[in-house]
Amino acid sequence: MPHVKKPISLDLVGVTKVYPGVIALSNVSLSIRGGEVVGLIGENGAGKSTLMKVLGGVIAPDGGRIVIDGADISDLTPARAVEHGIAFVHQELNPFTNLDVTANVLLGREMRKGMLGLIDRKAMEARVRPLLEMLGTRFGPGDPVSGLSLADQQLLEIARALSINVRLLILDEPTSSLTLSETQRLMKVIRLLRDDGVAILFITHRLGEVADVADRVVGLRDGGNAGELAPADINKNAMVRLMIGRDVSQFYETATEPAGAIVLETKGLRTRTYPHEPVDLALRGGEILGLAGLVGAGRSELARAIFGVDRPEAGTVEVSGTPVPPGSVIEAIKAGICLVPEDRKSEGLFLDFSVAGNIAAPSLATLSRYGLVDRDAELALADHARREFAIKAPRLDRPAGELSGGNQQKIVLAKWLVTRPRVIILDEPTRGIDVGAKAEVYHLMRRLAAQGAALLMISSDMEEVIGVSSRVMVMSRGRVSGVLERHELSEENILRLAVE
């Protein structure tokens, strides 16, 4: 177990960072000491990532001071940040899947032996093993990383941080892809490290977790300090106020719509992942069916089979009674099915394409003649969608990747909505986006349902599932373990079915 010899004392004083046209940080101050967990909250674009990069020495601030252990650090580089014991666990994990666990943990700090400087595998494994034991991982130092789950990759990153004798651990959205039990295990690790004298900066949109683990909460808004909450004041409402500067009164619009005729129906649908578990579901127009379950329960696989990304082993998908030819995205789209994928950056958006190009992508057939795209019609459609869905994009011809996560997600939704789909599958629709944008996404979903579309929402955010769904179907290991009506919805009921 790493024993922190000298707990860190770090102060950011009046830090400012200006990018061309944007003030990313304006006069931000933040203090953190060894042995405390500080929750850092703020909407997307509030300056959290910039602050992180300053702490990691990746970018140099334009103004202000960084004081570590009482000394002014004027030129913090990534290497010097490591020397000071500052380590990160990034939101988007990218471990080296071509190397094993030990090689990943000690990458860049390999141990050598002999005159030739060959890799000393034994010494490296001996260094890594106790770290893994402390974290209670299911994988060992020699295991390949390619087979690890997201949760295990997270622990791998933490092991990496521990291996540099961490004094300040910065966790960026560490739980966004973890199941409940994995999250709890991570929280346990965080408390362990704190008791050991490590300072922890915990960045997340999941306010429940902040309330759970943080000793203090710091809020950022529009690049500046929004305030701080003492332990006694940490609760969800106070945090939301801190982040957006006002109360969010009606966060979930829970009015249940009268359900129409059955729009989507699967009969005996079996996916390749769970070839022995046929799934039957029926979805009515105007309904939002929540699909809950643990990560790996087969929810995404089901969605991919319905949307034709993967060919199902057996079974049929019908839209309004008409069978959809299996295993073809083109046929699924023709039938009026659309999928808002979980990973919007790789599957949902063309980040380099313009905002207009993204919105028009699924509608090109109607926007073109003789194979030529009508650019005016494209822009008109995009402009309409921008106003309709309140997408904050100053220019439609700029790349979508420049917008905040919330606005990117609105583009993904908008591009399908303009095609007037009948079935909309949403896979973790609000993952990694902030409270304000979440409320808008929920609002869009309700509007779609009101127009008669059938929505299938996969979500691991329990509050979201309960708040948004008209009904909830729970899956466990590929099987539908139960369906809960609106009045039966509770965290406990869902969990019981999920672990069945």
Binding site: T97, N98, L107, R112, L118, T273, R477
Partner: protein, 332 residues
């Protein structure tokens, strides 16, 4: 040895056995020595190419460099009377400089490796042809360099020295790639350059060194080739050789996206390519089909490889799933 390498080894043995059965001349000492010589010659720069590929780069100028440095080498000793060790040194230094230039353009000016080395392919070939006024660089009648020829083109116990050089380079390369920290960093850079930089690896230096290493080894092989052909016609000498190197690496399990591959694989890839060439000759297949045969075998090999890994992935997935089913919520 990886399963992939094992599969390739089996393939090499099968093809070899079939050719030997159809035409026993395949295993005659003369033919074996000739094929081995070619394996050695082509192997040197194939290993060089592999180092660039493992970092996600590519080197397309190998053939042109072999022509240019071959021309310069022969010209230095035959026309200018430079002592051959000095000429060798000059050629090797030139190779290092070319490699440095490529690496600098890729890492400092952020140009794409394909573009940089494609331009290299065109430029060096052009310079070589201009240098000889589109003629042939060769030794004048009667001039000979017995020491040099014995070292580079000679044989010991019937084994061509090119094979010995190839074997030595392969062993050293294996150690570098699979046992040293530098090799580990090559794999890391190839998989994810940004993450590698954040891990404290000097990614620029790593990438530059692969180009230097690549063209340095190519310079060595340029000397071997020059002494093998004894005259260099810069318009055709070394044409397409970079593609042999890339093909050998791909056959050997290297991913052109970087981060994957093994030296044993590329060695086997080189051997397979030369055996295939030999097969075309020995089985009476029209030599115009040479490339077609090679291309087909590579394609089939790559298809088989991806299908087998997809199958394995599926099976592993199913095994994990059934493991989960037996042990609900294990380890929580």
């Amino acid at each position: 040895m990886h399963k992939k390498d094992l599969g390739l080894a089996v393939l090499v043995l099968c093809v070899g056995t079939i050719v030997a059965l159809v035409n026993p001349r395949f295993i005659s000492p003369v033919n074996l020595a000739n094929t081995a010589n070619l394996i050695g010659l082509f192997g040197l720069f194939s290993i060089a190419e592999a180092f660039v590929i493992v970092t996600g780069g590519i080197e397309l100028s190998i053939g042109s460099v072999i022509a240019l440095l071959g021309v310069i080498f022969i010209d230095l000793i035959a026309t200018w009377g430079v002592a051959w060790p000095m000429a060798l040194l000059i050629v090797l230094v030139l190779g290092v400089l070319i490699g440095l230039l490529h690496g600098w353009l890729v890492t400092r000016l952020q140009l794409q490796p394909f573009v940089v080395t494609l331009c290299g392919l065109l430029i060096y070939r052009g310079v070589a042809r201009f240098y000889t006024r589109d003629g042939t660089a060769g030794f004048s009648f009667g001039s000979d360099f017995p020491m040099l020829e014995r070292i580079v083109a000679g044989r010991t116990g019937g084994i061509p020295h090119s094979v010995i050089a190839f074997a030595v380079v392969a062993v050293v390369a294996w150690f570098i790639l699979h046992r040293t920290v530098f090799g580990r960093h090559l794999f890391a850079v190839g998989k994810n350059e940004v993450a590698a930089r954040y891990a404290g690896i000097n990614t620029r230096r790593v990438i530059v060194s692969t180009y230097v290493l690549c063209i340095f080894l190519t310079a060595v092989s340029a000397v071997f080739f020059a002494m093998y052909t004894r005259s260099v016609q810069p318009a055709s000498h070394g044409n397409f050789y970079e593609l042999y190197g890339i093909a050998a690496a791909v056959l050997g399990g290297f991913s052109l996206r970087g981060g994957e591959g093994s030296i044993i694989g590329v060695v086997l890839g080189v051997i397979l390519l030369q055996v295939l060439q030999n097969l075309v000759n020995l089985l009476g297949i029209p030599s115009s089909l040479n490339f077609a045969v090679m291309g087909s075998v590579i394609l089939v090999g790559v298809i088989a490889d991806t299908q087998i890994s997809a199958y394995r992935e599926r099976r592993r997935h199913l095994a994990t799933m059934s493991g989960l089913a037996r042990q609900p919520e294990a380890g929580e």
